[in-house]
Every structure is written in structure tokens, then in C-alpha cells.
Symmetry: C2
Subunit: 144 residues, 2 copies
Amino acid sequence: MSDGREQSGAGELEAVLKEAGLRITRQRRTILAILAAGGDHPDALALYRRAAREDPSISLSTVYRTMKVLEEKGAIQRHTFEGGPARFEHADGQHHDHLIDLDTGEVVEFRSDRIEKLQEEIARELGYEIVSHRLELYGRRRRD
Amino acid sequence: MSDGREQSGAGELEAVLKEAGLRITRQRRTILAILAAGGDHPDALALYRRAAREDPSISLSTVYRTMKVLEEKGAIQRHTFEGGPARFEHADGQHHDHLIDLDTGEVVEFRSDRIEKLQEEIARELGYEIVSHRLELYGRRRRD
DNA sequence: ATAATAATGCAAATCATTTGCAAGAAGCCA
DNA sequence: TGGCTTCTTGCAAATGATTTGCATTATTAT
């Protein structure tokens, strides 16, 4: 194993594909590397542009298709923040919610067990069981 | 005033338009009435179909346009739940979050001051101030 | 009424994303 | 390694939701 700081390399994503009986193509390798490298939340176009720098032959369709498979395999997560295209994130760590910086588009991850608990309670009271949920905070940096 | 149960009639929405210097057209009147009547969360097409029953001349564009103005004036709210078209809601009462029934698409409203508070705290800790937020629970009825 | 101007219907345009299809690679086995 | 089968890809065209241009119609203040 590496230095222990590696939360998940592109190799992990490749393993996901391999296990699913899918092929590891040059373009997939490129895309996965980018996804694993940047700790941000790029949309398909951004991903495409970065990938195209490495391999100009990659097409936007392939980016979309790759995101779709990986999402189905649970290897990545797709987020659709307000008024924008879907953005992807390498699903390595545990669940977390997002705070979107309205000025920069930057995404800050956070997590609150208390909120998670409260959500469960609420759903139960309403007679439901939660399958998934999404909590997004949209805000701007407090300048003080 | 009426029987006190009227949380907000179409009249209120018309007032919003009037105050904004906008015209009260036949189609707007129809759409507003529908929006004020049903306590649900219809999407543009559903709204269009209901409206067309009252007035076949109404077009889908007008529904969209009307939703846009009303949203800008703060009279209605637009929600984009996972994997579906935008759905609209007459913004009368206070803020609330949503639980979407994955089987029926039905929307249940709820509100939790504790969660709201926690959100504020989290944003503050991260150095942000919340402009808006969205909390959606997706689940299915607990059968027991 | 009437003019001034906003709103409508329709069709065409946009945006993000998906899909059909023929051509090009991967993976596997001999 | 060569060949074969099947999965992927790139491209263009199709989709779905929503918006917009434009000529026509309808509102509203006068």
C-alpha cells in the first residue's frame, strides 16, 4: 500500500469496472485518473476538458457514459445543485452533505450526525423510511 | 374575509402581479386559480393540462412564463426534485422542507427548527452565511 | 374608445444529456 | 501472437425540459 494518505486512487475505480466485467479502456483510465486526482466536483464538461488535455480523442459522450456506469456501480456520486449541470464526485469516504459557495461554485463538504438523526426521526414520524436524501446549503463566505 | 381557512387564494397571487405592474390576463387568472386551489406540487405540464381544461387556448409557454414571473416576485416556489421536471408550489405559509414519496411522487411537507438551527451553526463554522438551502428526503411509506 | 405596451401562441432555439450506429479496441482463448 | 467476440467509442442525431423571437392579441390607463 502507499503512504496511507491515498483515500482512493484511480486504481480503485478501475477495480470497480473490472469486477463488473467492464473493460478498462484508455479513455476510461484517463477519466478515472482525473476523477480520483482532483478532490473537487467537476461537471461533465469540465471533466471532458481536463480529459481532452490528456487524450484529445475523448468525446463528451464517453465522459457521460463513464459517469453513468460508475454511478450505477456506486463508485461515484452525481449531484445536481441548483441551476446547474450535474457534477460528479468520487464516492470514497462516508456520506456527507454539501455547502455550495454561490460566488465561486466551490463545494464544501460537511456532515452532521445530529441532522442525519433528526431526518430519520422526522421520516419515521411521517410514516416513511428514508431511501436517500439531499441537504444542500447555498451561501456566501462571511466576510468579517 | 372568508372563513379563515383560506391560507391564500388566487386573489393573493393576482395582487402580487398587480403590485408588480403586471397584467391580469385570462390565462394568468386561470393558472393562478389552479395553483392556489390544489395543495399539491404540480409540474409545468400538469399545470398546463389542468389549465387547458378550463381554457383550451392556454399554451405551455404561458405556464412557464407565468411560473417564472411569480417565482421572481416570490409568490411561488420552484422545486427540482431528483430526476424530474421542476414542480411548483404556492408559497404562502412559512418555510418547509420536503419528503418525496418515491412510489407515488407525492410530496409531504415538514419543518424542523432544530435542523434549521443546526444548518446555521454548520454554515457559520465553515465561515459561510446561508442564502438558501434545500433538504429533501426521498423515501417510501413504512408498511407495518 | 384608443393608444401604448405588455402578454400570448406558435415554432424554433437552447442546454444538458442520451442514444443509434458503424468503426475501433479489449479481453480471452487457442 | 492471432483471431474472435463483444464491449466501447466518436459522431451525429434524438430527447426532454424550458426558454425565446416574433407577429398578433389583449389589457389598462387615459
